[in-house]
Subunit: 340 residues, 2 copies
């Protein structure tokens, strides 16, 4: 098995990617997986410089040179046109050509989604490839929320496909046996919400997924469902709002500490507890999220990925190749098309 | 001025409503507002019993008897049909007939929105009356988010009207001089999002409101805008998600405290700080939110309203009558229709 890693993706690239690869290699050899080869895609000079400076030994790691780099704010369609020599593009091209079995990047999410869709191609029956996000829950496992890609047009058919793909993802990437799938709505009753939500409700009732109906916004983090389906506009807003909520909290804590000298003391005692809770909002251990609905294993990680997060992305990539995630989605789409 | 109060609305009705009225009367007489009469709508026997039990002197307060009560989970359209003898319905009817100048309830929000729309009537030019919510921000004032009513069909025209009404609300209820109004979207650029969002963007650019463009989910609590406009589906999801987030946080704190005896100690030290921050998420001081776009001052409060919150709702009602909120909205709709 060969796994490609975008060395130029994260905010701390290529340092964290190099360290992540070394950690993954260590872990694989400890587990006696000797047939896994990890390949770095990026600017070879920069990679070598950073490795040398940090005393990281990478002479045994294969590097594919890319003169270009995709920036976080690059427009995805522009990347397709003008950055064909970037690590992200070259990695996905190699994946398409079968030179590698999976590719991962902690870089530009939109570019990964768009380039994966175009280069790898959509699985038959999938209208819009998508990306899910993991939201922490009060339970022991996170909740899969999708679409958080960019499908803002809310057709019932799209929501239906997101549900099927999310279900397979929860099953084979998070190892949840019979994931509970729900639609995000403004009330429990089947008649609630938009026409599209009502239609998707009916389609899901007839599907083979374990559809538990509508849930409301307050129930997402309660872990009532394992997979929560919405359109990309709502998904994006929730994902970002949650980020904003954490920032708000931190900012209020800071202001509280600065308002009085006694508060400062109280805050210093409280801080470790808060940090402990906030850690739950960290997804390092889940190792990124795959682009769902494309013909291949292409994984996106957070821009702030640490070396450990990169290592976990690599481990996740191996698992998804082993589990044949893309094939599973294809089978499920076919199965549920016949029955819908 | 006569202000009607639904005595049967809140989760602690009629107790909190009675105490709230007494607090308001006290405050009005201290401020020398002697021309304000407060009227309770509800079950007279229950009101008298609760007053007696709690040693609350209410013989000087006028009560309008209502044999029925609207429950929190009553369907709004059913209320219109089958609960015409409820305190909520009778109060709004008196408001329509000019017997009172404002009516407020800490009861069923949907019922207040629907019954206000039908009984009081829509202001000319308003397609959908709406309810806003107040979201705390890192700044010194909250952010107005709307629609959180139930307008799930996302027409550009509706979003445009929400922006105009939200602007007037921020100006005359929150006393913000030139509120910054934004559309909630998945990116800053005018071409982002759905067709409806793009069209609303163009309409708002031409309007007289201080439109600052699109903002993203993470920017809501950053206070980048004073008024954030979205459709009712997204608004409802955010509002509820925020509630869920607080529950999640509390549940994690609890679990943390229970996991180890040393954690329990740490938590007990952290708790006061935490409670202090959570207080910011409390809206008692804002005194409910008015139904926007109807011909009259009808105010909705939180089901968990304390006596102080009820008192603040009453004060807010007085202000909105003084400020002629409904007229202001009518004028602004006309002004912006001509120019759109």
């Amino acid at each position: 098995m060969r796994i490609g890693i975008d060395a130029m993706g994260s905010d701390f690239s290529p340092h964290n990617e190099i360290e992540g690869i070394l950690l993954a290699n260590e872990s694989f050899s400890k587990d006696k997986y000797h047939d896994i080869e990890l390949i770095l895609y990026g600017d070879i000079d920069e990679i070598n410089n950073v490795a040398r400076k940090n005393h990281l030994e990478i002479s045994h790691i294969q590097c594919v040179h890319s003169p270009q780099k995709v920036e976080m704010d690059d427009d995805p369609t522009e990347v397709l046109k003008t950055k064909r020599e970037s690590s992200l593009f070259l990695g996905l091209q190699d994946l398409k050509e079968g030179k590698i079995d999976a590719f991962l990047s902690a870089g530009n999410t939109g570019a990964m989604l768009t380039c994966s869709s175009v280069l790898l191609g959509r699985i038959e029956g999938v209208s819009r490839p998508t990306i899910a996000t993991l939201i922490p829950s009060v339970g022991s496992r996170p909740v899969v929320l999708l679409d958080v890609g960019a499908t803002v047009d809310h057709k019932a058919r799209f929501l239906y496909e997101f549900a099927i793909m999310g279900n397979i993802y929860a099953k084979f990437a998070l190892n949840i046996e019979e994931p509970k799938v729900a639609l995000l709505n403004i009330g429990e009753e089947p008649i609630k919400g938009t026409d599209e939500l009502r239609e998707a409700y009916k389609m899901l009732e007839k599907s083979k997924v374990n559809f538990i109906g509508n849930i409301e916004g307050n129930e997402i983090m309660m872990g009532k469902a394992d997979v929560v389906v919405c359109d990309g506009y709502v998904g994006n807003v929730i994902l970002k709002f949650a980020e904003g909520f954490v920032s708000f909290f931190k900012s209020k804590l800071k202001a509280y500490g600065e308002s009085k000298i006694t508060n400062k003391l109280k805050l210093s005692m409280a801080l470790p507890t808060f940090k402990n809770i906030l850690k739950e909002l960290d997804y390092e251990e889940y190792g990124g999220v795959p682009v769902l609905g494309v013909k291949g294993i292409s994984i996106v990680g957070h821009g702030k990925s640490t070396p450990m997060a990169i290592k976990n992305m690599i481990t996740k990539a191996k698992e998804l190749v082993d589990n044949k995630l893309a094939n599973k989605i294809e089978e499920s789409i076919i199965l549920n098309t016949i029955n819908s």
